[in-house]
Subunit: 111 residues, 2 copies
């Protein structure tokens, strides 16, 4: 295929394979409506929310909510801290900032 008349050599500045995998992993964590609503609720609360509230908010069973919180945790997007019986979750703002920055640097547009 290389050297075909239709195709110029690829331009420089493309995302590396490793970076693509990492960035895709974060997008994968964001690619679910339930998780987006959990993140949004956490941000709107301007602080922390206990995990018990997400069950009614998300309209999902408790194990399902726990699963989504685990995905967000493993993506570094939220943190959980136990206070007695309850676990309070909060977003990691710097991680969200990383996503925004990656969008700017890895997929830049002038528009």
């Amino acid at each position: 295929m290389t050297g075909n008349p239709c195709c110029p050599p690829l331009a420089e500045g493309t995302i590396s394979a490793a970076d693509a995998v990492d960035l895709a992993a974060v997008f994968k964590a964001l690619a679910d409506p339930v998780r987006l609503r959990i993140l949004s609720a956490l941000l709107a609360a301007d602080g922390q929310i206990c995990a018990c509230d997400f069950v009614t908010t998300a309209g999902k069973a408790q194990p399902t909510v726990s699963h989504h919180l685990k995905v967000l945790r493993e993506a570094g997007l939220v943190e959980g801290a136990r206070r007695g019986t309850w676990v309070w979750y909060s977003v990691v703002p710097s991680r969200l900032a990383d996503v925004r920055r990656a969008l700017q640097t890895e997929l830049p547009t002038t528009v």
Copy 2:
């Protein structure tokens, strides 16, 4: 669960269920390393690239590349135009801008 001593009522300003589904759909299209590399190559080319080049670039079979291009197309992130035998693809910058804006408005942080 509502009215539990641990949980204050949810704050306003959370993302709607419909918006969460839409935003998650775009993130889902971005949540794959191959598609990220295709987008990056398109942007780095500062114009258009024919589909045939992605086969060698992505290291995937031709039907696989065609599948990923279809996902990106249906997410509104790229457009394809036939020029004779070849199909030239280009990004839709406004769509990428929408993603950035949605990240700012739906998941805002001060950091």
